[in-house]
Amino acid sequence: MPTEIYNEVGLGLFRGSDFPFGTPDGQGIGASSLFYRIGGDVGTNGTWRFGAYQVDGETGGRVTEEGTVTFIGDTKLTAYDIRYTFAPTGNERSQEVTLTAEHFTRSENGTYGATGDEAFATSAYDAETKGWYVAATYKWMPQARVGVRYSEMSNVDLTGALDGTAVDGAGFKPTQLNLMFDWTNSEYSRIRLQLGSEELSAGNEDDQIILQYLMSFGAHGAHKY
């Protein structure tokens, strides 16, 4: 069977009055988005898919941090994601490996200013913040899976007028590592143990043990009764 490639492309134009934009600068279209997805098979029992997404817009004033920090200017978000799945017998319900990764970039070009306790004068800002994760899960029997995920962000390190203000990430890299095991008892219930280790701000390390019981109710597409 020849390889079948799936392609999908989409374009959107919109007002751009919500995050990551804000109060539009004037009337009409304030933002646009564009996405592209491509995918196919790897052999009989493997699949892959790659996606790219971009949203681009401008704001006349986006207010964050409880109404103290204001950004005026252009924001562009770019995201890429890739996914690969492999089921040894073709029956992913019994056994499956999945690998996923995503990468995000936010670039902003404009001015930042703040009022209140941490006030600073409105100053020019042109920088990029990036973040990504990779994750893998392995299901070795219909009920049991293990998974691992690592995430990281790279922050801006500002110099000049914005150095040391609330918008200066000082180059800190927040990281997070998660391990999980879950047991799917039936279509309705799943129990999951998750271990996490994260450092979301400098010196604030946090280790977590999370036990979840997930339950679903009601009819769905494949069970209308």
Binding site: L34, I38, Q54, N91, G221, A222
Partner: protein, 296 residues
């Protein structure tokens, strides 16, 4: 942004260049792909969403299927909710000609009489099919009936080759009738025997051969059996030894292995569909091999 757009338009263009003039048949299961190929021969292109070692109840919609369904001229699936977990999602991406109610939409169960229609519908009973047993391709009569429908649909999609389709149907039907007579003669040695099944995958074949179902390893369809139920099966088998325990190539193996070991009853993996076993290369071999395996 412009560079991006150019790349996308280029890649998108590439995806159309593979379009073909031959009628494109999208089958949900290998048996319908094989049947379409018998009638269409070289004049058509047929693909199957699942292969012979995949459980057709549970597959995930994958990018290649999304791509194929968009180009399909004729859809052939078992129906009766066998594909309910994935076909509706695929159809949302399919073109108009294969949607429900269109001539390009053939759910086999809509044309035949399904057996085992449940009296009560309740989630606590497992994955039951409200419209009855969907594993209809294991009734030889169904194959013959659907072969005519496929011929008729192919002829309306591609009238230029109507004669070829009619000739292929005639050839296939006479071969199939002869084979059916041969399979019926196997009844003599098999009828009246009983088997233990894993799932109700073979009900039509067993009915055709006159074989009774002694018990089902799956207590409720789609749900793994409890230890108590397996113990019951062992005691049923000891009182009334069956011909064999039968399963499909994609059934989970642990429970049937355990029961076979406990009781010493022969365990047989039947091909179920085309590609189920390495030698199952066409529709005739599904029946030939199954009967041979059961008769040994």
């Amino acid at each position: 942004m412009m560079k991006w757009l150019t790349t996308i338009v280029f890649l998108w263009g590439c995806s159309f260049s593979s379009a073909q003039a031959k009628p494109f048949v999208f089958a949900c299961e290998p048996e319908w792909q094989a049947l379409a190929q018998e009638i269409g021969g070289d004049q058509i292109r047929a693909v199957s969403a699942t292969h012979g070692r995949q459980d057709p109840h549970f597959i995930r919609v994958k990018p290649s299927l999304m791509s194929q369904i968009k180009r399909a001229d004729l859809l052939i699936c078992s129906g009766a909710d066998l594909e309910v977990g994935w076909l509706p999602l695929l159809l949302r991406n399919g073109n108009k000609t294969i949607q429900a109610g269109q001539p390009g939409h053939v759910l086999v169960s809509d044309y035949v009489t399904n057996i085992e229609i449940p009296q009560v519908l309740d989630r606590s009973l497992g994955d039951i099919h409200p419209d009855g047993n969907p594993h209809v391709h294991l009734d030889p009569q169904v194959i013959l009936e659907i072969a005519s429908i496929i011929k008729e649909r192919l002829a309306s999609i591609d009238p230029d080759h109507e004669k070829t389709y009619a000739a292929n149907l005639k050839k296939f039907a006479s071969k199939w009738r002869a084979a059916t007579t041969r399979w019926e003669s196997a009844k003599a040695s098999l009828a009246g025997h009983s088997v233990v099944v894993q799932h109700k995958s073979f009900s039509y074949l067993l009915k055709f051969l006159g074989i009774d179902v002694l018990a089902s390893i799956e207590e409720k369809p789609g749900i793994p059996p409890s230890a108590r139920h397996l113990a019951e099966i062992v005691s049923i088998i000891k009182q009334n030894p069956p011909l064999a325990i039968i399963r499909t190539p994609f059934d989970t193996k642990a429970s049937s292995n355990w029961v076979a070991k406990k009781t010493g009853v022969r365990l047989i993996t039947l091909p179920y569909t085309v590609g189920g076993l390495p030698e199952t290369t066409d529709l005739f071999k599904i029946y030939d091999q199954s009967i041979e395996l059961l008769s040994n």
